[in-house]
């Protein structure tokens, strides 16, 4: 690996490597904990609701639940990776070591983004492997599964960079997580189909970008969803491009990083 990286790419590669080593050093907290949490949700909800709820014809509730839980964890962990790394570096002051370097704002963005995607996908893969003990999942459209996992983690990784740059204190970041990320992920159809909601709440759910990520990801497994996967993919893709553009603007202007 050492020899194929030339000096032009070594800067962003080093930042990416540092970010990966950082979360892997505390994998018990950053990977094992969310996997255990998701599997506990699966154990309890599937046990309680399996015989009472059927969302799609021919799809057991446990199987319906798994893609939603995987995607929710992918999104939350992608967000947590970039946001916690940046806020920690800001509060501890060591972000200066990166700011003093010749890394461009695009390279800074790419390194944090890719690290967030990798953590999200690693957590998602581990939950998938753990969930195989519960039910044998089919994969109707693997390309959609991968596309939504990739774009969803990219979207939330980008959102995490914005939150990390914006927040000045840990309590502001906790507020972001508890009042924005958690409600959006729980009200996105992880545990239900939005068709089971009253019309008003169906409309509200359609404003939640998390809904499209989870619905599209679930479509990849069962070939069924509440919305066309192409519409979901377009909404997620456009949301990602919009947030990426905002993030790059913030980084280029030095917002809250370079006064």
């Amino acid at each position: 690996m050492k020899n194929i990286i030339n000096s032009q790419w070594r800067g962003p590669w080093t930042l990416l490597k540092k970010e990966l080593v950082r979360f892997w050093r505390v994998a018990f907290q950053t990977v094992a904990a969310p996997v255990i949490t998701a599997l506990l949700y699966l154990l309890i909800f599937s046990h309680v609701l399996e015989s009472h709820v059927q969302v799609y014809d021919g799809v057991p509730y446990t199987a319906f639940l798994i893609p939603g839980l995987i995607m929710m964890s992918v999104l939350q962990n992608a967000f947590a990776n970039s946001s916690s790394s940046i806020i920690q570096s800001k509060v501890m002051g060591n972000i200066v070591f990166v700011l003093l370097t010749p890394l461009t704002h695009m390279q800074f963005f790419s390194a944090f983004l890719i690290a967030a995607i990798i953590r999200g996908l690693v957590v998602g893969l581990c939950i998938y492997l753990g969930a195989m003990w519960f039910v044998d999942l089919q994969m109707a459209h693997p390309v959609y599964i991968f596309a939504f996992a990739l774009l969803g983690s990219a979207l939330l990784g980008t959102f995490g960079i914005i939150a990390g740059i914006w927040a000045d204190r840990f309590d502001q970041m906790a507020a972001f997580q508890n009042f924005v990320i958690m409600p959006l992920s729980f009200l996105s159809g992880v545990f239900y189909s939005i068709h089971s909601l009253p019309p008003f709440w169906q409309k509200v759910s359609q404003l939640n970008p998390f809904f499209y990520m989870i619905d599209g990801f679930r479509y990849g497994f069962f070939g069924k969803g509440d919305v066309s996967p192409l519409i979901s993919l377009s909404i997620v893709g456009v949301s990602f491009l919009l947030l990426a553009w905002i993030t790059l603007k913030m980084l280029k202007s030095g917002y809250k990083l370079r006064t």
């Binding site: 050492k2 990286i5 000096s7 032009q8 070594r10 800067g11 590669w13 080093t14 930042l15 490597k17 540092k18 080593v21 950082r22 050093r25 505390v26 570096s89 501890m92 002051g93 060591n94 200066v96 070591f97 990166v98 700011l99 003093l100 370097t101 010749p102 890394l103 461009t104 030095g254 370079r258 006064t259």
Partner: protein
């Protein structure tokens, strides 16, 4: 384009709200110089250093490192610059060697740089701590690691912002020996410090800042001659001094008189005046002025 100046600062202004922190700073620092930037708290030293490092944007004016503008050509300018921050900051996830490798990697340097990393670790007395997590280092060791990080990519221009604040005498001596060696090898060193004796002993040139402006800029020797001269401390007892030397008295207490002299010839002038009044000299002490005298005469007793 490489400039003969290590750092060129031209007409730099910076406002923080209503505070005019830098009021048109102009300065050239030559390659290979050991340069000191002195001034009381709030004079604008750190703001100037932070603009040089790209951490703060100037409102007006330019700064260039070896001819490369720190805003428009920031990638090249930062390659040439190593900055030791004032605050004792560190990344708690990594050990010393990992941090240095990461830091060099950000600047595009790979495994070929490991020999230099070993040299820095050796030179700063960190070799036996290379595998220790940053969190577990003592304050002095963290300070050394901070300096090592600034040097990891082998920059020709090194900025040390208060590097010896809170550092014990032994470590200070060790750090200065290492920094002097770097300077002898051709690195340009820019230092801000509160220890004026350090600036006096180490630096070829000194700039003194006050309220966002440079109020003095000269070689250390010239500044000492121009502003401070020498002081003559005479123990004479309770006497009345001849009128012609009374203006030279800077301080008087319990029969001990301190005279401020601009040159050596004035010693004989003072002694002749005393002899003419039959005043006996009980004790005599001649002191060289130091940068502290210059500093106080220029910026006042604000620290």
């Amino acid at each position: 384009m490489q400039s003969s100046h290590a750092v060129t600062i031209a007409g730099v202004h910076k406002h923080f709200g209503s505070l005019h922190a830098l009021r048109g700073v102009d300065l050239h620092i030559e390659q290979g110089e050991f340069f000191a930037l002195l001034g009381p708290n709030g004079a604008g030293k750190s703001t100037l250093i932070n603009i040089l490092a790209g951490l703060i944007k100037p409102d007006a004016g330019n700064i260039a490192v070896m001819g490369h503008d720190v805003v428009t050509q920031y990638r090249r300018a930062r390659q040439l610059l190593g900055v030791v921050p004032q605050e004792l900051v560190f990344d708690p996830f990594f050990n010393v060697r990992e941090m240095l490798r990461f830091q060099a990697g950000y600047f595009g340097r790979g495994p070929e740089n490991d020999v230099w990393v070993d040299e820095i670790l050796e030179g700063l007395g960190l070799a036996d701590k290379a595998s220790t997590n940053m969190r577990k280092l003592s304050g002095g060791m963290k300070r050394r690691a901070l300096i090592a990080q600034a040097l990891a990519h082998r920059p020709p221009v090194i900025v040390l912002d208060e590097p010896t604040a809170g550092v014990d005498v032994e470590l200070r001596q060790m750090l200065w020996e290492f920094i002097k060696k770097l300077n002898r090898e051709g690195h340009t060193i820019i230092l801000t410090t509160h220890y004026l004796e350090e600036a006096e002993a180490l630096c070829h040139r000194v700039a003194m800042m006050k309220a966002g402006q440079i109020v003095a800029l000269d070689s250390t020797a010239n500044l000492l001659n121009k502003f401070a001269g020498k002081s003559l401390r005479l123990t004479l007892g309770e006497v009345v001094l001849p009128i012609e030397i009374q203006d030279l008295v800077r301080h008087q207490e319990a029969g001990i008189f301190t005279f401020a002299l601009s040159d050596m010839a004035q010693i004989e002038f003072v002694l002749a005046a005393l002899r003419s009044q039959n005043i006996k000299v009980i004790d005599m002490q001649l002191n060289e002025a130091d940068l502290e005298d210059v500093f106080l005469s220029l910026v006042g007793k604000t620290e």
